[in-house]
């Protein structure tokens, strides 16, 4: 059975061109970039090129890119690093209720263990943060504001330009988790007033295990991983050369293809959403109607539980996800869906379909054929519907 993969927000397949670039590194450039011999210098040159590519894609200087092991490390570095660097100045962090756990769990841990004071801002029913809430939350003790660029579950794009301007006015470091947007939307730090920005290769058809933090020149910074002084002493550890090369290649491809690919995805996504609304009663579409990622369709289906939707779709050859991943036995409804005001029960019926490069009109048709059948079957067995 041909599978239809609609979980690109979780991870994207590696572009074959990117995989080939990695294979070439493994074949031809075995050196450690810290070594001064030819093998080392070749590895460094490849890494330098990749750094230039990543920087160019977001309008940054190469020296402003710190490669990490992924989006989670980038978020940890941004949050923990800034709090450590500015501890003498203050102890207050502002963030939102819909951040990824890489930010939320990090600030909570800092609150619990390092007495950091935390303001977690609410969002409206579309998942948008009000910039005025940010303005009001900032105090003289605020050292960091962290608001994601777009949400990974519901796809809503946040008004980070406005939030950034407010942070600038108040002289507060502004971090944005752009893991879901870089590659899909234009992100240009020359125009966007952000100080720190998290990137993640495996969300734009690069490999898992490599990401980056953009650090605007002059931003206070403290490293969190110590050792050999790599990345200009900002992130120790032998560099994942092949991963970094892959990230550069993947981002260059994504940036080049974005102008055609993003509208194509948005059109398919809209087809999917209107088809779902036509065919299934009592389904709620989550996220902002217009300010949203082009590839994200987030739904809640009343009366059924997300996991059973996912499993039924999986058995029908369609890979999807649910905000409520019942993997550990305890099914917590997604904090994002609760934050936009859904009831626990409705939030439990969430379904996220995220489209990607391989998605076709035909795929959308298949989903629109299967999903209504699956929903009626599950609703027939449900005591709620």
């Amino acid at each position: 059975m041909r599978r239809i993969y609609l979980d690109h927000a979780a991870t994207t397949p590696v572009d074959p061109r990117v995989a080939e670039a990695m294979a070439a590194v493994y074949r031809d450039a075995p050196g450690n970039p810290s070594s001064i011999h030819d093998e080392g210098r070749q590895a460094r040159a490849l890494m330098d090129t990749a750094r230039e590519r990543v920087a160019a894609a977001i309008g940054a200087e190469p020296s402003e890119i710190v490669f990490t092991s992924g989006g989670t490390e980038a978020d940890n570095l941004a949050v923990r690093g800034t709090v450590a660097a500015l501890r003498h100045k203050g102890d207050h962090v502002v963030t939102t209720a819909i951040e990824h756990h890489a930010v939320l769990d990090t600030v909570s841990e800092l609150e619990r263990e390092q007495n950091v004071r935390l303001t977690v801002l609410p969002v409206d029913r579309y998942g948008r943060v009000d910039p005025e809430d940010v303005r009001e939350a900032i105090t003289a003790r605020t050292v960091l504001v962290s608001v994601m660029h777009a949400n990974n579950e519901i796809g809503t794009i946040e008004p980070i330009a406005e939030i950034g301007r407010i942070c600038r006015e108040r002289n507060v470091v502004f971090h944005s988790d752009a893991v879901q947007t870089v590659g899909a939307l234009e992100v240009d730090v020359r125009r966007l007033p952000v100080d720190l920005l998290s990137l993640n290769a495996h969300k734009f058809y690069g490999p898992k295990g490599v990401g980056a933090l953009y650090v605007r020149k002059g931003t206070p910074f403290a490293r969190i991983q110590t050792g050999g002084g790599q990345e200009r002493d900002r992130r120790a550890g032998t560099e994942n050369v092949a991963g970094i090369v892959a990230m550069g290649a993947a981002l260059e491809i994504a940036t080049r293809e974005r102008a055609i690919e993003s509208p194509r995805l948005a059109r398919l996504r809209d087809l999917l959403l209107s088809g779902v609304r036509d065919a299934i009663d009592d389904v709620v579409v989550n996220g902002h109607p217009t300010e949203r990622l082009p590839n994200n369709a987030s739904l809640c289906v009343r009366g059924v539980q997300g996991e059973s939707l996912i499993v039924a779709l999986d058995l029908a050859g369609i890979a999807a996800s649910s905000g409520a991943a019942c993997t550990t036995g305890s099914l917590e409804p997604s904090h994002v869906l609760l934050a936009i005001g859904l009831s626990r029960e409705l939030a439990q019926g969430s379904l996220r379909l995220t489209l990607g490069r391989a998605t076709t009109d035909e795929d959308v048709d298949v989903v629109l054929g299967e999903l209504p059948r699956i929903v009626s079957r599950l609703r027939a067995a449900s005591p709620v519907a």
């Binding site: 009366g303 539980q305 059973s308 019942c326 036995g329 099914l331 439990q348 027939a380 067995a381 449900s382």
Partner: protein, 122 residues
């Protein structure tokens, strides 16, 4: 992740619904995840003549409810009320560790339906 039996009972669940004029109704829930299963039974001649379920829950919860009703129908009341989570698991060919609570919930809902019927009868 799931055995063929689980997949089959999830994809084509047996005994969906509510028994009309049921003799007993039972419910059990999984406090951790908020899933719940309702079972209704009709007894006749000392046996479980009919058993139906409704489940708000994950695939394993649905398959477990389908299986526990299948196991119950035709059994003596005594036998049916002793159907355990282990029996459901065995019949399903096992569940992932984190999903074993689903079998517990199904067995619990059946047991409470039969207990309810006994009380009403008596």
């Amino acid at each position: 992740m799931y055995s063929d039996v689980v997949v089959e009972h999830f994809t084509n669940p047996r005994n969906i619904g509510v028994v009309e004029n049921a003799d007993g109704r039972g419910q059990d829930s999984n406090p951790v995840c908020g899933d719940f299963t309702r079972i209704t039974v009709r007894l006749a001649d000392g046996k479980v003549a009919e058993a139906k379920f409704k489940t708000f829950g994950c695939s394993a919860a649905i398959a477990s409810a389908s299986m526990v009703t299948t196991l119950a129908v035709g059994k003596s009341i005594d036998h049916a009320s002793r159907i355990s989570a282990q029996d459901v698991l065995a019949a399903l060919g096992g569940l992932p560790l984190v999903k074993e609570g689903c079998a517990l919930m199904a067995a619990g809902a059946l047991r409470s339906a039969i207990a309810d019927a006994k009380v009403r009868a008596g």
